[in-house]
């Protein structure tokens, strides 16, 4: 409440400033959004009421990364309490058409698996019931039989000829393969003194908003129309994708957004397949359906940034001057190429030379599909991937040529007098002075002091390094950049696509109060506040006089395909368009006022809530009187005014043209500049990276609201620290998803994020109405590689892979590990890198002879008794048994269908036991070789070695405990076997017997 009270006070105070004539733009006024948010009155999608009778959906998802769906049995689910409808892929397919795919290929893309699953978490069936609990109960009753296929996870592996193929319509797994050539790269490389290269792998991560996806969909059969309320964020080009998929014209899909959003960072764009899925479910159920994604669903299967494998070569002179770059990028878009992908790869196409004046450029871009969650918008969108390669390479050039890394940066920068500067691949860098920004960053950020800190730390034997980056931050995407993925011939056939249309409406009511509407769908940034500042300045009002509405309703509002909240377009495009709309009314109001004040329109000024003559300030009339006239007395308006009630402006900058026949593309309208440097220390014991000091210098053109700009920088920085040090959507080699909770997908918290030292300079953009450029994504692009460069400096290593998991640095910092003491095995069985199969071995001694143990292994009754949690065993053949089992560790219990087979029988000495199990918590499979050796006293020693793999939900949630859990379960099996065989244990209590067996098993192995 202190904030709300402060708001009122601050408003009065700043309105005093206003009388002195300073504009609202550039002031950090309190945010109009905050009093609702801070007092629990935000209106997020899950807070909004729904129509009576609204149903709730729950989704059954694939535990497999790649498998054919053999059968789906939904009858039990359909009969369950409260269930209204159950839809599988075929049902959804009957109601919809395939989502469009961004490249020319005969490939379908459905919002639910049709016949085959291609990633863990892919929807397989939707249950619609009277509440979410009952819907989830019914999900558990659906039985799906899968036939697993081999999965491909790594983008380079996906290129191999023998790789499993995901979609028949692509050539192998390659969805697109384009090469580009600008200038004369071959000659530049041939004549260069040095060719310096880097190979990098950029990991998968996401910005993970606190609010997950949510939507309510309804279908009106009378109108054949859908009404959808979703926390979708744009771009509204997706509206066309949705109406096509739902098989209605665009005017029969009303898409609305809630007033508040719990964050997006691009991610909410990825809700769109679920809009199709839930809308189809609403149509099938005949009632509105609501779905709120849960956190496990979100982390597993919402959307992710792309991971990318890049090889980058530079042709370099002795002094570090870069004459040419040769990019080879392999973009991993996951299992489906969903709109607007492969946009992540092409968003930066005009900026592949970064902040540098490099005239020769070769590019090969390949897009591959793998068995992972499909990718989509994510803060930074292509920038982190590009700059990680480019700026790591610049650091390598410095190391390999023995130069100062900052000198290599400054020697290559675009010259200060070269703006507007056209890059080799076609971006028009609109304005800037990179040299001055760097100089000020070095001076005001105290680089010299940081170097002393490094030297002092190193003198003490500490691992300390400094990293630098200089990046161009593009904003306001050209809707046409994505068509660079097509060949010029394909583009000519498809028709032009370009621009970045922004829309804003300003309206005045009868008492002269001003309303603004924009199609920007803010996700918490404070758009309403800034728009009130912008429009207040035009009309000489206070921001409190201007009310802003940012909800979107495609049935009623002005919008275009470029509408929405992405590509950092608010300040440069949307806010500027609101200014233009307000000015369009102000020009007319000036004429109205001039006629009332007996002066000329160019003598009119709007200030302090009044419209005055500049020459004679006492000659004035109140704003509300002039503004309301069009309502009360339209006949009194001067000729030719029309009306002053409402103006909608559609603005698209002329600079954003379609790609030309040479594939030159001005991929974004404006280009900010960021220069970062930081000092980091790696702890010698924990190997954790601590950011000692981080300096970030920004030039984002005209700053509209300084506190919000700093907020954007801090937020982007925090997410970038996450990307650098903590966050990864990790997959096992079998495609199991391993980071399904925030205990394993590690977001940095306030304890892990240092406060960056933020510096600004302002070079206005000549191509935006307010001179502003985007600022929201820059640190997501610059910070991961800046930290990586510092760590490379600290450790003196070439290869840095994010996230910087401390354990991965052990070899580089410490070399080989101390050997185990004599007589002790080296611990875990050696695993190949990335092998997630669980291995183990053990031994149990029982008093029964080997023949009896052997007979037991082949007897269903014994198996029923010894398989942990076994309810029944069915003998399929002499060597094949089917069991219904409950397996659990502690409170974690799940029921599974298990198949057990015996092979390689060598009675009564050895047998191979194979098993697979599938249930609601996931699946497992394994194989163990059991050897029976007679002991001296008539007993038998049962020795076993096993290899097992576990996937599905339990792997996503419990990765940390999985290995140990498997060992406990296998231990339980042999404990029970030993008990059954009269293992000599007097105490029959299972847990104490287990304890004894554990002592036998638990020794060195």
């Amino acid at each position: 409440m202190a904030e709300a009270a402060g708001h009122a006070f601050a408003s009065r105070e700043v309105s005093g400033n206003k009388e002195s004539g300073s504009p609202w733009i550039g002031q950090s006024i309190p945010r109009v959004e905050d009093s609702a948010l801070l007092t629990g009155r935000g209106r997020f999608i899950d807070d909004l009421g729904v129509h009576p009778g609204t149903l709730h959906a729950a989704i059954l998802r694939s535990p497999h990364a790649h498998a054919d769906i053999v059968s789906i049995e939904t009858s039990a689910a359909k009969r369950a309490q409260g269930v209204v409808a159950v839809l599988d892929g075929d049902d959804v397919k009957a109601l919809t058409s395939s989502l469009v795919v961004g490249v020319k290929a005969p490939v379908e893309c459905w919002p639910i698996a049709v016949g085959r699953v291609r990633y863990v978490g892919e929807p397989v069936a939707v249950v619609v019931a009277t509440d979410r609990y009952l819907a989830e109960d019914a999900v558990d009753l659906i039985e799906v039989q899968y036939r697993a296929r081999p999965a491909v996870i790594d983008p380079l592996a996906a290129l191999r000829a023998d790789a499993p193929v995901l979609h028949d319509g692509f050539g192998g797994n390659v969805a697109s393969d384009r090469t580009f050539r600008y200038g004369n790269p071959e000659q530049a490389f041939a004549s260069a003194a040095h060719r310096i290269s880097i190979d990098i792998r950029y990991p998968r991560n996401s910005c993970t908003p606190i609010e997950t996806y949510g939507l309510v969909a309804d279908y009106d059969p009378g109108e054949d129309a859908y009404d959808v309320l979703a926390n979708f964020q744009g771009p509204f080009s997706i509206h066309a994708v949705l109406s096509r998929a739902l098989k209605v014209p665009g005017n029969r899909l009303r898409l609305r957004t809630p007033p508040d959003s719990g964050g997006s960072f691009g991610v909410k764009q990825g809700i769109f397949p679920y809009i199709v899925l839930i809308a189809a479910a609403a149509r099938a159920a005949g009632r509105p359906v609501k779905w709120i994604e849960d956190r496990l669903e979100h982390l597993t299967a919402s959307v992710s940034a792309t991971n990318r494998a890049t090889t980058l070569h530079a042709a370099v002179a002795d002094d570090g001057r870069i004459h040419a770059l040769d990019w080879d990028q392999i973009e991993d878009c996951g299992a489906h190429l969903r709109a607007p992908e492969p946009a992540t790869l092409y968003r930066m196409h005009g900026n592949l030379t970064g902040a540098y004046d490099i005239r020769h450029l070769a590019v090969r871009n390949r897009v591959v599909v793998t068995n992972k969650t499909p990718t989509g918008l994510n803060r930074g969108f292509g920038g982190p991937q590009v700059y990680f390669a480019l700026e790591r390479l610049v650091q390598r050039i410095a190391v390999e040529l023995g130069l100062d890394p900052l000198d290599v940066i400054t020697r290559n920068l675009v010259a200060a007098d070269a703006f507007p500067y056209r890059t080799a691949s076609g971006a028009l860098l609109d304005s800037g002075n990179y040299q001055e920004a760097i100089q000020r960053g070095v001076d005001e950020g105290k680089l010299a002091e940081l170097k002393s800190r490094r030297d002092a730390a190193r003198a003490q034997g500490r691992l300390y390094g400094i990293g630098f980056t200089a990046v161009v931050e593009p904003s306001v995407s050209n809707m046409g950049y994505i068509t660079t993925v097509l060949t010029p011939a394909e583009r000519r056939k498809a028709g032009p696509k370009n621009g970045a249309q922004a829309t804003a409406t300003v309206a005045i009511d009868p008492v002269g109060s001003v309303s603004v509407h924009v199609a920007s769908v803010p996700q918490g940034q404070g758009h309403r506040t800034v728009l009130s500042q912008v429009v207040a300045d035009v009309f000489g009002l206070t921001p409190g006089d201007v009310r802003v509405n940012t909800e979107i309703d495609t049935a009623k509002d002005a919008w275009s395909i470029a509408s929405g909240n992405y590509a950092s377009r608010f300040a440069p495009a949307v806010a500027g368009t609101a200014k233009l709309a307000a000015e369009r009314i102000a020009v007319k109001l000036a004429r109205v006022a001039a006629s009332q004040l007996n002066t000329e329109a160019d003598d009119i000024v709007f200030a302090g809530g009044q419209v005055r003559s500049k020459r004679n300030p006492d000659n004035k009339v109140s704003f509300s009187r002039v503004a309301g006239l069009s309502h009360w007395s339209p006949g009194a308006l001067p000729d030719g005014i029309g009306q002053t009630i409402r103006e909608t402006v559609f603005w698209s900058p002329p600079e954003l043209t379609a790609p030309d026949d040479d594939d030159q593309i001005n991929s974004s309208l404006c280009h900010g500049f960021i220069f970062d440097f930081c000092g980091v220390e790696i702890d010698r014991t924990t190997l954790q990276t601590r950011i000692d000091r981080y300096v970030t210098m920004h030039d984002c053109g005209t700053i509209l609201h300084p506190a919000m700009v700093d907020g954007q920088i801090r937020g982007g920085f925090a997410q970038a620290v996450g990307a650098a040090l903590y966050e990864e959507y990790a997959y096992g080699p079998d495609g199991s998803f391993l980071t399904g909770t925030f205990a394993d997908y590690l977001l940095p918290t306030t304890a892990e994020i240092p406060d960056p030292f933020i510096l600004h300079m302002q070079t206005p953009s000549p191509v935006t109405p307010l001179g502003s450029k985007g600022v929201g994504e820059g640190n997501c692009m610059s910070t991961p590689v800046c930290i990586a460069n510092a760590v490379a400096d600290a450790l003196g290593v070439k290869d840095i892979t994010l996230p910087l998991v401390p354990a991965k640095l052990a070899q580089a910092v410490r070399g080989a590990e101390p050997a185990p003491p004599a007589g002790r095995a080296s611990g875990s069985v050696k695993k190949q890198s990335g092998d997630r199969r669980l291995h183990g071995e053990g031994e149990a001694v029982v008093s029964a002879p080997a023949e009896r143990v052997w007979a037991m292994l082949l007897d269903p009754e014994t198996l029923r008794a010894v398989i942990p949690g076994c309810h029944s065993v069915q003998k399929i053949s002499d060597t094949h048994f089917r069991a219904d089992v409950t397996i659990g560790i502690g409170p974690v219990k799940g029921r599974y269908r298990a198949d057990v087979t015996l092979s390689d029988l060598d009675p009564p000495h050895a047998v191979t036991l194979g098993g697979s199990a599938e249930g609601a918590l996931g699946f497992g499979g394994g194989e163990g070789r059991i050897t029976l050796l007679p002991t001296g006293n008539g007993g038998t020693s049962i020795r076993y070695v096993y290899e097992a793999a576990i996937g599905g939900k339990v792997a996503s949630i419990g990765g940390r405990l999985l290995d140990g859990a498997a060992r406990v379960i296998i231990g339980q099996f042999f404990a029970a076997l030993a008990r059954q065989a009269g293992g000599g244990a007097a105490d029959s209590s299972p847990s104490s017997l287990l304890l004894k067996l554990r002592r036998w098993f638990g020794g060195p192995r």
């Binding site: 014991t685 394993d744 354990a807 052990a810």
Partner: protein, 270 residues
Amino acid sequence: MKPAAFDYVRAQHLEEALEVLDREGTDARIVAGGQSLMAMLNMRLARPKTLIDIMRLPELAGIERKGNMIVIGAGVRQAALLAWPDLGGSLPLVALALPWTGHVQTRSRGTVCGSIAHADPSAELPLVLRALGGEVHLRSAKKRRRVAAKDFFSGMMATTRTDDELIEAVSLPAAAKRCAFREVARRHGDFAIVACAAVATADGVRLAVGGVADMPAARDFPRLEGGALDDALNDFAYELDARDDVHATARYRRDLVRMIGRDLVREVLQ
């Protein structure tokens, strides 16, 4: 992420809780602070038929000194123990380790005995119980028994508690003995990758390690220095049979046992 249906019994007396537990056995689960169990219910990893809430039982609510032992009832929240005025004097190791257990928010709900019952291999309280040689007080409708820490934990999230038993309390020896604690996690408040507790013994030091083996492990070291200490720690590190997961490798865990172990042993022996 909604739990499957379950019955909820808010026990009014300990006898009631024991009676329900006796009747329901493996299908029942005690809920105290719910900081691990509720998440498991919501993710449907656990689906007990009955939850028995013991937080209203006055007989489990206290922290008492009985001779040289501090007895902590099953209803005592972690935050309450952290705020107990005698903590630093009587249980200095707990005072060092407890702030590492979760976060302020989870400690204000989570209980001391609940964490021990859950037996997560990375948890601090089981580690402290093991390091100090405390006891778990188990009770069923039929009998009461006390189990030493080393016999209580039997594996990953597994203990020797039987299905009809609940933990009534744990007892820890009060001691002003020298002790030390250190933990490494990816972020503050995360599950420990390695947690080490060291306590002075009559002829040396006991080092207990969590987060590496399936359960907290301890070894008594005589007074050793230099290479002998390093060798003993190396042997211990390998004995724990460390594993890889998404956050750390087995080698990294062994490194931490060796390095932090050495620091703590020296610190306690000084």
